[in-house]
Symmetry: C2
């Protein structure tokens, strides 16, 4: 089986092995601090009794599921705590395909690179709907692409890589399209705390038995390596997803669940606002420098990413590697996110050196 393995790890390894200083803007790994309460959670765990080191409930620690349920306004029974958003999206897509209501997964172009690979692995087929130049998704285009073959529509808001945040009207309409074709809208909202526009609308705002929401603490708490995420299913769809979770992973790491729970309980809104403010500053700094360099670029409404385009320098893997070696800046090739952005490069704003990166890019393309 030939999965489309995402290129992230390849590019990161290439950048690590480079024989020069490289500003790493490859992957969505925050460089800011996790909540102090999350650190406290790990610290406390070290002294717990042996029974706390054993299997938690497969679907997740009940206190954590209740905490998430209260925050999201759903029933705890709808929640499965997963090994990050990666497993959450896997469970959601598998569940959508298992309903015997079509084999097609509607994805956006550009697309987050893991979704196409998951689709193939799960025996589905991809169909792409082009996003607009600013990354917005036209629900009418999604409706035109949907059919009886549609099992799921997978979207990501705030979006990686475009930075688009879909308004409430788009989310409502996407749910309606899913309902009309016996499909499921899967809304990956892992960047919800990095909405810089104030426009973010969760799919949860639209009551429906045809939408699944995935999320994680990976981005919101700056701990992509902790591997604690969750998925919220309609009550009708949750049972089989719990079985799959049990059969694949048994359970999600318990110290990580506890640390996330403690961080949920003890972290105030100022933590999240501080990180948004940091991102806003970096967006300004980086895009100002790109502007000065005469590049085309996107200004994200949310998430961590700026896409940029330099004349005569398409977003291929070879060009990304050349940029690492010759300019000392590592981004991701636009072609990793679908055909529509093959001329572009994606830069993650997860380094304090965004100004230096922009300066290097400007000098290189001068």
């Amino acid at each position: 089986m030939d999965y489309e393995t995402p290129l992230f790890f390849h590019v990161m390894e290439y950048a690590d092995a480079a024989d020069r200083d490289v500003v790493d803007m490859v992957s969505g790994n925050p460089d800011w601090e996790p909540p102090e309460a999350l650190r406290d959670g790990l610290r406390e765990y070290a002294d717990f009794d042996p029974d706390r080191f054993q299997y938690p409930a497969s679907e997740g620690l009940s206190e954590l599921r209740e905490e998430i349920a209260a925050r999201r306004g759903v029933d705890a029974a709808q929640i499965v705590v997963t090994n990050g958003a990666g497993e959450a999206n896997y469970l959601a897509m598998a569940r959508a395909l298992e309903r015997d209501a079509g084999d097609e997964i509607l994805l956006t172009d550009p697309v987050y690179s893991y979704y196409p690979g998951k689709t193939t692995m799960l025996g589905g087929t991809q169909r792409y709907v082009a996003a607009g130049a600013e990354g917005q998704l036209d629900p009418a285009a999604v409706r035109a692409a949907a059919s009886d073959e549609t099992a799921a529509i997978v979207v990501n808001t705030p979006n990686n890589p475009t930075g688009a945040v879909y308004p409430a009207e788009t989310m409502r309409e996407l749910v309606a399209v899913a309902e009309d074709h016996d499909a499921v809208l899967i809304s990956d909202e892992v960047y919800d705390h990095y909405d810089l526009s104030g426009q973010f609308a969760s799919a949860l705002e639209t009551e429906s038995t045809h939408r699944i929401v995935t999320n994680a603490v990976s981005k919101s708490m700056a701990v992509t390596g902790l591997r604690v995420g969750y998925v919220i299913f309609p009550p009708e769809l949750v049972a089989d997803a719990k079985s799959r979770h049990m059969l694949v992973n048994v359970a999600t790491t318990r110290p990580g669940q506890y640390a996330a729970l403690k961080a949920f309980r003890e972290t105030g809104p100022d933590y999240y606002e501080r990180n948004r403010e940091l991102l806003r500053e970096r967006v300004d700094t980086f895009t100002d420098a790109l502007e000065a360099a005469g590049a085309e670029y996107t200004t994200p409404q949310g998430s961590f990413y700026v896409m940029a385009r330099f004349d005569g320098y398409p977003g291929t893997l070879a060009n990304v590697e050349r940029l690492i070696d010759e300019a000392g800046v590592a981004g991701m090739p636009g072609e990793a996110f679908g055909d529509s952005r093959s001329e572009w490069l994606r830069f993650a704003l997860v380094t304090p050196r965004v100004e230096e990166a922009a300066r290097r890019l400007a000098a290189y393309f001068d």
Copy 2:
């Protein structure tokens, strides 16, 4: 899709909800201490820089893979660090089925309850080979059941639930059967540190491109909730398994991997010997009491389990629940492990109260 969800969690919940004191012998959750170095690992992690909280390499921390490789005499490139043995077995079975060399998975009867469910989830079919009365597996019976349809043979040694430890000759012959039918022997060796017989032989001892070994620190370090395991593939089979791991889970929890690494490095053989000695004492205590009560029972060569049979009291879920309510002892129904042990109950020796449990059982069946 109707997965055969294991009954463990149901029985544990039933026992927890019981209106009386219950000796919990349901699940294989050790009640002994994890290595102190593992606790130290979590403690240290709490103070690490933010970058240590981000994605590790998808296939696992390289230091951990190298540590495992050195211990097991394989190349680190063959190893994927997984979310416990649960994911390790899932990856191994998926990889065996993906080769387009048959859809059948040969399992033993009795069987560890997760294997049949994983088989169904992955689109395979189960074929069972009966183990002997003592739990030993006759390779000739496996050979007789194998065919061109055989994708994999899945075994567990030391065995859950029988306690059998397969000798080196059995392991060699099982690999040979796999080779002769273009199948893969998947050897789940998660209880390897609980070999009480001195007879344990890893499938790794037999060089072959047709065997996969799965393992975890869950049992050996008494941390089933940490979720750190690994799978060792032949070099020819590892690439697609790494892709699947990436597409399902992205990576395994990084603080957990670090804690396991530290515990591997700093834990001496005395830790493991102490736990074996504790188990030996419990086996003696529990089986002596069963003997006195006139029950039939198994004496494990390894793993945590004793199977017992009481006249006129078959190992159904209903009878297990009755035993919880009326005798205050919680075990697992033998029928959860396949047809051949439907008259039996399984008791996990993971409580200091094994003597009390045996006394209660003797009184109840008197």
